[in-house]
Structures are given as C-alpha cells and as structure tokens.
Subunit: 480 residues, 2 copies
C-alpha cells in the first residue's frame, strides 16, 4: 500500500520527487519570487552538513575563503566571448537604486569568474603571488524558465573556487585535485553516492573554459545528474581581465586560472540517490538527526518508567551521536514513526513498558523499511551497536546505489543499442563523432555525452555512430 | 617613530582605520561596484570565526537556520508603513531579467522581515506551531551614500533571526534572550569588547518595531558603535502580513514577532576596539592564527638545527593552537615580525641558533608591542605557557577596553557638560526630553541617544535638558 502523500516512484517519478521534498518539509515554493524556493530548516540543515564537510576538504587542500560582490557590472560579462553567450540570456539586472536609474546596470552574479578576474588582475603581480587559491560560499542567480526544488532554481547556494597559477600544468593539477580529492571523495564517502569522474566534451563544457571536468551520478530513474564541475579555464579569463604576473626571468606572462563549484542541487541528487516510497533516506554522515527515540506509554506510570530508561540510554550519546527524543504528548507512536520516516532519520529506537521490563529496545533502520529492518536488541551495548549500524547503513546505501548504476549501465555498439540504453540508464560506448554528431544524438534521443570517463579501456573499438576506430569511450545519458 | 604605512591614531583616526584594514590585507575596494568591498581572506577568516561562535549560541538557544529568497517583490515593502519609510530610499531594484522588463520589480533584500513574514503567514496555523525560531545567514544590500570598509558598505553579510510567538511576553523574552545570551555574551567573551545593553528610544528604533534593543560599544576615539540589535516587532508585521494562529480556545489571534541581527560591521568594531599604531590586534578567541613561529637562521646548518626545534615544539600544538610557521626563505625576520604585527597575530615565537643552544625561545605578545611584551622563556612547558598567555591576552584586551570606556564615560548634569562630554566619549545623564528635544541635540551636537541602559540608577535626578525630574538615564554619544 503506498504511503499517504507519497506517489510511488514507479507511478510517477517526477511527482514522487516533489512528494519527498514536501513530506520531509525541506522547501517551500516562493511563488511570489519567480523560480525561487525557501530552504526550510530540514532542507537547509542538510546543506549546512554538506558545507562543513566540503569546507574542511577545500581548506585541507590549501584554499582559503573570501567574499566578492553580488553585483557585477554588465559590461564585465561581455569581456569573454563564450562566457557572455552562455550566461547573458539568463541574468537578472539591477537598473535602479535609491529611486534613480543607474548609468550602467549591474547583473546579479550567475557565477563570478568575471568579477573575481577583475580583482585577481589587481592582486597578482609576481610569480611569488602564485598559486592564489581562494574559495567563496555564496548565492547566485540564473533566471531559469523551468524550475524544480533544489535541482533547478533561479537563486541557489553554492561554493565557487577560483584559483590562479603560473602555468598550464599547475592549473590542470588543481582542476583534477578538486575533482578527485574534494568532489568525488565527498560524493562517495559522505553522500554515499557513487560518481563517474570524467572530461566534458567541448559542446558541454563551461562557457569560457579550456577543459571542464565533472562528476556524474546516476539517479534511481537511470538519468544522470552532474554533481560538481571543475574547470581549467586556460588563459581565457586571464586575457579577458589582464591577469598577468612577472616570472623568475622578469618576463610578464598571462596567468592560468581555474574555477570549480558544487551547489544546493546536491540536495536533489541526495534525494534521488537514496530515498524510497516511504520518504527521504539520509546517509548517516549527513543526517542532521541520526537517531530518533520514540518512547511508548499509555499512562503516567508507564511514561515515567519509559522516560527513565530513555534518559539513561541517551545520557552517553551526547557528543557521539546526533539524536532527538520525540516525547510529544498529543501524537501516537504510529504518527511519529511515519513522520521520522518521511524525514529520513537513519535509525529509530522505540522504548515501551515491555522493553523496560526486558532490558530491550526496538531498533529500526531506515534503509530497510518495515519488518526486515526492525529487531529487538538489548539495552546493554546499545551505543556501540548504533554506532556500528550507522556505519553499516552508510556503506549499504553506497553499495546499493553502485549496484543500481552497474545494473543500468550498458555497453552499446550500435545506434539502436544506444537508443534502447538511454531509455534505461547509462550507455557506455566508443565515440569518435563530431560536435554535430553529438548534437544529432541529443536531438534524436534527448541524451548527451555526460563525460569522457578518466578511466578508459585498454583496447580500441569502433565508434557507435561513425564506425571509426577509436580508443575513447564516453557515457551517453539523459540528464537532470 | 610611526610604523610605515600606519597613520597614528592621534594624527588622523579615520585614516588610521583605513591603514589598519590595508595593512592587514583585510579588504579591497570594489570601485567597479558602488559602495561594495571584497572581503579578502584575512578579513573573511575573522567573519568565519565570528559566525561559528554566534551560530553555536543561536542554536544553543533553540533556533534553526533556513534560507529565504534574495529578492523581495517591491510591493511587500509598502505593507508596513514605517518599514517602507525606513528602507525604500536605499534599495537596489531588479527590473529586468533574461533581457525582458519585469512586470513587477523586485528589490534586493535590505532586511527580510517582509519576505519572511509572507512565508510565516503560510506556515503558522496553530498555537502548536509556536514559537517558530529561525535564523538566516545572508547577504543584504542598502544603497548607502557614504561607505567605509566593514562599517558601512552597500552589500554586507549578516545573520538575521526571525521568530514568531503567541503573546507579547514570549516575544519580549526572546528579544532579551538574544540581546543578553547571544549578542552581549559573544561581544564580551569572544570579541573582548565590553558593551552596554539598552533600549533604543522611539526615534532610533527599527522601522516597524514596537521596541528595539541594542548593544553599544565604545571605540577608541570615544564614539559609539551599535554592535547588534534585537527587536520586539509587536504585532506590526503580523498585521501587515496576516500572521495569525488559532489559540487553545480556538480563537484566531495575531502573532507577535521578533527580529535581530549582527553583521560584518562587527569586524570594524573589532578593529576600532583593540588595534594600535602598529597594526591590527586580534583577541585570541577570534584570531585565525593565534601563534606565529619565526625561525631565524643565517645558513643551512643553522636552518636545520632551528627547524628541528620548531618541528618538535609545534608537534604537540596540533588540535590545541591555531598556528603558522613562517619559514619563507627570501624575507628577513624583521620583515616577518612587521607583517604579523600588521595582521594582529596574538603571540609570536622566535627561534634562533642561540635558542637551540639554550633551550629557550623568544616570546612576544601582540597586545604589548616592543620590549615590554617580549621575553625569553624555556622550551620546556611552552605549550602550557602559550595557552595561558592567550587567555591572559583575551582578558587584558577586555580589561583595557573597559578601562577606556570607564575613563571616557561622563556623568553630566547640564547642557554645557553634555556638549563637552560628547566631544570626548559617552555622556550619561537623566533624560525626560521629547523626540524633538532629542533631534535638537542631534542637530546641535551631532550626538544621539545610543540607548536607555537596562541597568538604571536607584534614585531619580533632573533631565539634563528640561530639568524635569525622572528616574531614566540615557547614554548620549556620537556614533559610527
């Protein structure tokens, strides 16, 4: 029987997603501000947990945080030809302030390469100033036509790293360091979301980049979600904004820059990687509440006996586990179980009068709903048991997502196989086509090359479209 | 002899402030974006440290974080009469997006009571939904005419709390909880900045508030700086946005709301509370780097002997102290000392070849520049010594700032004494004047009533202006 308020995935995946967001109380539609959402406390707490983990990794790899202006002179966008083409159509413009028309309008940053490039040109003088390794946590705005909570909203939150280097090799090393050590590591170990690391094709790369890399994850419906990007911008922005430095031989050189970002769309990725028809499922490392305790009683005597045990059990959890005791009076246990399932809390502990007698508790794991994931265990050693279980759930979620991806990734060798594969998941194939060929497949199958995986086969094969021999494999998929 | 690049406070206080900001590399002027600054890594790191401390206190008092839209429909500002009067003159407007004119313009939030009020009206239904205790970390924009780094910029960063309560008593308790337990506690124990807690006069209160409270600090030039505000908004915004709830008797009631905020202007307050003519001075609890180690050597043999000691000493600091080892090759020790003084690092350790022989180090404290604050101490027990010294510096900075405020606070009993006092610092006096009287003093002396301190005298006295007997004392001062 489907859960009330949650459309099953098999019935309508798209509606299921919206039901999960509403059921867990993660966001509200800001219908009065076009395309925007409110990040409600439950949704925002997940972003805070992501921020802490990402920020630790960004700092551990030598970066520092800074903050640059929200507004960018409109003329700045025009300085890099591809960049303006990519972003000008979707910017919001500030044209008036203090009741007067501005002589030059500003745009609200859709991304900050241009404004940061302007400052870097002032700050970078000598090879001694390099590398310059700065990150920013900020809101950005892209006036999207179709919006969807977390996945695509006009305003969203993100981090954007912007670095400057002396040469191509250093810039490339930085770009890949972020892809591997920060983004892929975070996605897999913290989000429990397996990702494919790869290079974007020229058609799909960031407007103004020399080379773009991404991590791509498979959602439960088989579609791809680009979960993070890292760009080697070459000397394109350095030339547009005149970021130069004097090298050891006293020669003035254009610098090399990179940029890289992940955003609140990761919350959408998290939902579509792990959640089920019962509601949100959160990996323990990101769950704002890892354990909820529901005391069960029918009268005051039972209540005080049960609560005494609950207090004793939770006393040693402080500083070790993130937990909540749900002792609300006016609600039934069933109502509470349902609510915490909807909110994705990884472990639920139930304590009733019988448990008080027997020295037991009921322990339910969210990644296995229903009877399968529920057992009665001793109160003795409960803390260690929960700690181990949280690890197990984290591993299980990753393994399950990886299995899904492996089951839905198809090696394809013909046009027809490609067409069939992208209906179900990822199509992996040899590719030697042109940009036009790529566009043609997009037009016909609504699938794009998600990436050229960093991990490539040892032997050559024939391009799925042109039949040309090539050593390059790519992943085609429909994408969010 | 004045330090190069730092104008002494006595010569030009205003220029000194700008020199400190530049000397510590805290900010850059965003001359291409009117009135904005870049928060450079050194400045932003201080804000990050402040955020962590404030966020802990905000959460410990029962609040959760959320995020609301940057843009507010312009019409929303008009719904609360005083609010629009206060903020409409200084908003930036978004009138175009995706290349088209918008039918209704948006303003970039100058503060979020209106947009948050709109959502709270949807979320609050029953007394069971109350209190609603939410905080937001965000950027805001007020198109100011005169700007000054950190103290007054068009865009700034802040937190804004917005809460909903069932009645006046609960709202008032919340307003004072934030003032006392969050803001005053943070200012005094973390920033080492003594503050006076008080009520704002009607003339000085937040546009739309029932009652505004603030914490007021004295800067080294005797002027006041409002370091945080907490507002009981009464039912004003509840009525403007229709925030109602059904009470226990099934009657629909207007709710009571509060709002409260502190911003990056605290960085300006921090500078003007502690810094000196040698540069920035940071209290240890907020210093991104608490200890800098400068190894001193003339050749490779000395270098390796010194660095061995440095590594041994710092090995046990990890996780206990925030420290840096400045082993840059191409700079003299004197250059390094100067740079770390400019950046306000609380403790400097110097290790040279003689220290290696003697088992000693030189230890210099930033709050006492020059010989007075420098001593040679044993390498044995250094970690404990530094930990204790950091506490001592934190206490000393607070005590020094408190002494300054006490020396520059004058009890005044006449109009002439008031005039003389506000030239030097705070004037404390009995006050029973009208709003017009307050305006008159502002026009004549450029001083305003900073607050009516929560701490009031036991006995009555005569109003400094009208001579009427009253029990109410106020603080007059010139303010930033």
């Amino acid at each position: 029987m489907p859960k009330e308020g949650i459309t099953p995935r098999a019935t309508d995946y798209s509606q299921w997603y919206l039901d999960i967001v509403r059921g867990a109380d993660m966001a509200d539609y800001a219908e009065v501000v076009r395309g925007c959402i409110v990040f409600k406390p439950t949704g925002y707490a997940i972003w805070e947990a992501m921020q802490r983990e990402l920020d630790d990794r960004i700092k551990a790899t030598g970066h520092v945080n800074a903050y640059f202006p929200l507004l960018i002179p409109k003329s700045f966008l025009l300085k890099e030809a591809q960049h303006v083409e990519g972003f000008a159509p979707e910017v919001a413009e500030v044209t008036r302030a203090s009741g007067e028309d501005l002589t030059e309008p500003y745009v609200i940053r859709p991304t900050s390469e241009t404004i940061i490039g302007y400052f870097y040109a002032k700050w970078v003088r000598s090879y001694r100033d390099l590398p310059l390794l700065v990150n920013q946590w900020a809101n950005v705005m892209r006036w999207e036509m179709r919006t969807r909570p977390f996945l695509r909203t006009a305003e969203f939150l993100w981090q954007e790293g912007h670095t400057v280097h002396a040469n191509e090799e250093d810039a490339e090393r930085e770009t890949l360091l972020i892809l591997n050590e920060v983004y892929a590591d975070f996605a897999e170990t913290v989000m429990a979301m397996p990702v494919i690391k790869g290079l974007k094709t020229e058609k799909e790369q960031f407007p103004g980049a020399l080379r773009s890399y991404s991590i791509e994850a498979m959602m439960q419906d088989g579609r791809a979600l680009q979960a993070g990007t890292s760009h080697n911008l070459g000397q394109n922005f350095a030339k547009a904004f005149d970021i130069t430095y004097t090298d050891q031989n006293n020669t003035v050189q254009y610098a090399w820059t990179t940029s890289w970002g992940v955003s609140t769309r990761l919350i959408g990725a998290l939902i579509m990687t792990h959640s089920d028809d019962e509601g949100l499922v959160l990996p323990p490392r990101l769950a704002p509440t890892q354990v909820v305790v529901v005391p069960i009683f029918k009268n005051d005597a039972e209540r005080s006996a049960v609560m005494a045990v609950v207090e004793q059990l939770t006393a040693e959890w402080r500083g070790k586990l993130r937990f909540k005791v749900d002792d609300r009076d006016n609600l039934t246990p069933g109502f509470k179980f349902n609510e915490w399932e909807l909110k994705g809390v990884p472990v639920r502990i139930e304590v009733g009068p019988k448990d008080v007698e027997k020295g037991s508790v009921a322990l339910a794991r969210r990644d296995m709903p229903g009877k399968e994931g529920k057992q009665f265990v001793s109160q003795a050693g409960l803390t260690e048991r929960i700690t181990a279980l949280l690890d197990e759930i984290q591993q299980n979620l990753f393994a399950r997502a990886l299995r899904l991806r492996e089951n839905r990734t198809f090696d394809v060798f013909s046009y027809d196989e490609l067409r069939a594969a992208v209906d179900k998941g990822f199509a992996r194939c040899y590719w030697a086509g042109s940009r036009e060929d790529e566009q043609r497949i997009q037009d016909e199958f609504r699938a794009t090359i998600r990436c050229i995986p960093l991990e490539q086969p040892d032997s050559a094969g024939r391009c799925v479209l042109t039949g040309k021999e090539t050593t390059q494999q790519v992943i085609f998929a429909r994408a969010y």
